[in-house]
């Protein structure tokens, strides 16, 4: 069951990501990205991280991507023009991407023991609720990174407000 979910939604995520690049209209690309986000949420769910899955749907598909679509609608962005692409991208890009993919898979496979292996489907420690588990980790072991991230987001908000505020004449 979990394997079937992984294959279906992994394939959907890859297809969405490819469609994102191939579509010429920005709104179609944005919607493909929504599909990728939703497929990732299903993958999280199948790994037993249901809170993360719900947060992924609410935050990324429901808020961030809606804002993307909103901006595209507001600017009424038209279809992008197709160019043949730079030659450097063809010569260096494709082998480069393939090399990075090979390197990453090699590292992950060789360091499998050090990284630990997660089983597909339902991986919960000591029967605790998933949400309780996440919040305990966030507010004890990971407190500093958590707070620093919050401050980082706050700085971003302040920056956006400064940029958006009208100049006082």
């Amino acid at each position: 069951m979990q394997l079937a979910l992984f294959i279906i939604f992994g394939a959907l995520a890859v297809a969405g990501a490819l469609n994102l690049l191939l579509q010429r209209h920005p709104i179609n690309s944005a919607l493909s990205l929504v599909v990728v986000m939703m497929s990732l949420a299903v993958l999280y769910w199948s790994l037993g991280a249901e809170f993360l899955a719900a947060a992924q749907v609410i935050v990324y598909s429901g808020a961030v991507m809606v804002l993307f679509v909103f901006v595209i609608m507001l600017l009424n962005a038209g279809e992008e023009e197709r160019t043949s692409g730079s030659r450097a991208a063809y010569i260096a890009g494709i082998p480069g991407a393939a090399a990075i993919f090979c390197l990453l898979s090699f590292v992950f496979l060789s360091e499998q023991k050090a990284l630990g292996v997660a089983n597909l489907g339902g991986h919960l420690d000591n029967g605790l609720n998933n949400i309780a588990e996440i919040s305990q980790v966030l507010f004890t072991k990971q407190l500093l990174p958590f707070e620093v991230t919050s401050v980082l987001i706050l700085v971003a908000i302040l920056g956006a407000v400064v940029l958006a505020r009208k100049e006082e004449q």
Binding site: I27, L31, V34, E50, F51, A54, A55, V57, I58, S61, G62, A63, V66, L67, V69, F70, M73, L74, N76, N129, N130, I131
Partner: protein, 357 residues
């Protein structure tokens, strides 16, 4: 039936539950429309629909046939695929979220070694987040419909709807945190159970002191469903009909049904979160096995339906009474009043729970 495996039994019973709930929800949507027309009519000193069937009770059927037989226009300049997909997204998201709502007390029937809850399609431990997630996906239906129609009124309507829904989603989510803190769970079943100890007195609205949260939820939910007094996305005096100006026939009907299905979902959530869900307001005044096993199972469902019905009436009452907000008032009300109030509610609730709980 004994040759079925537990999984097959589960699947079969789930499909039966889904079909029953689906049919009941669609009927409820149709009759909510009639209820609104009737009640609004009486509020405005007229009769409302009264010709088709006794008291106009067959009016939804006539409306359905009319909408089904109308010509389905497709504007020349519309973005075809998105124009067709948008109403489907809106209606699907509106109908799917009912799947996690528990309609009655937990009542398992056992067959082939598996117990299936009769009054709940699926009881999952993050039911509340699932409802919030599905509602937040529903925005795409409105946003895309306005953009793909290639019409300035539609585009303005959907821009308004999108920004309004994003703004009020925050207040809506935060207003529910107080209840989640009290129940210490996101499962709707557990939230209902946490307030069913002493009937009316232990409901979150009364005994849980979450009435501030309830009013925030109510206002944010009206804005989320684009209903009066927050119905700016379809303000007929400014925008013709807003995002569904270019839609006709069944595509228009799908938006219409989505709006009323969303109303029902929002009323269900309000009932579950603040008014004890399917639990009786009388608490232990009635004996636990009042009226035999069948009545014991049916009574909670009746309580639930009565509460949801009261919320739907409130929706209609508000629509008949309040004028529409201005756009800047809407935004400043959401961001400067509801959001800080919701945050204050969370802080006070968690402080009280930490000190006394």
């Amino acid at each position: 039936m004994s040759h079925l495996s537990p999984f097959q039994t589960f699947l079969l019973l789930s499909i039966v539950k889904i079909i029953v709930v689906f049919v009941i929800t669609l009927t409820a949507v149709a009759y909510t429309v009639l209820l609104e027309r009737k009640v609004l009519g009486h509020m405005q000193n007229r009769w409302g629909p009264s010709r088709v069937g006794p008291f106009g009770l067959l009016q939804p059927l006539a409306d359905g046939i009319k909408l089904f037989l109308k010509e389905d226009l497709l504007p020349m300049a519309a973005e075809r695929p998105l124009f067709i997909v948008a109403p489907i997204i809106a209606l699907t998201c509106a109908l799917v979220s009912i799947a996690v709502v528990p309609f009655g007390a937990a009542h398992h029937i056992y067959a082939n070694g598996i117990g299936v809850d009769m009054f709940d399609i699926s009881n999952i431990n993050i039911g509340l987040l699932v409802i919030l997630g599905i509602t937040s996906i529903g925005v795409y239906g409105i946003a895309l419909s306005g953009w793909s129609s290639n019409n300035k009124f539609s585009l303005l309507g959907s821009l308004r709807a999108t920004s309004q829904v994003i703004s009020y989603e925050l207040a809506l989510g935060l207003s529910l945190v107080g209840v989640v803190l009290r129940a210490q769970s996101l499962s709707l079943r557990t939230i209902v159970d946490s307030q069913s100890a002493h009937g009316l007195l232990s409901w979150n609205f009364f005994g849980g002191y979450q009435f501030v949260a309830f009013f925030i939820y109510l206002m944010a939910a009206y804005a989320e469903t684009n209903r009066a007094p927050f119905d700016l996305p379809e303000a007929e005096s400014e925008l013709v009909a807003g995002y569904h100006t270019e839609y006709s026939s069944m595509k228009f009907a799908m938006f219409f049904m989505a709006e009323y299905a969303n109303m029902i979902t929002v009323s269900c959530v309000a009932t579950l979160m603040f008014f004890g869900g399917a639990s009786s307001p009388l608490g232990h005044l009635l004996p636990a096995n009042f009226g035999g096993p069948i009545l014991t199972a049916v009574f909670p469902v009746l309580w639930f339906v009565a509460k949801v019905f009261a919320f739907l009436l409130l929706y209609i009452w508000v629509r008949g009474t309040l004028p529409r907000f201005r756009y800047d008032q809407l935004m400043s009300f959401g961001w400067k009043f509801l959001l800080p109030l919701a945050m204050a509610n969370i802080i006070i609730t968690s402080l009280v729970l930490a000190l006394h709980g």
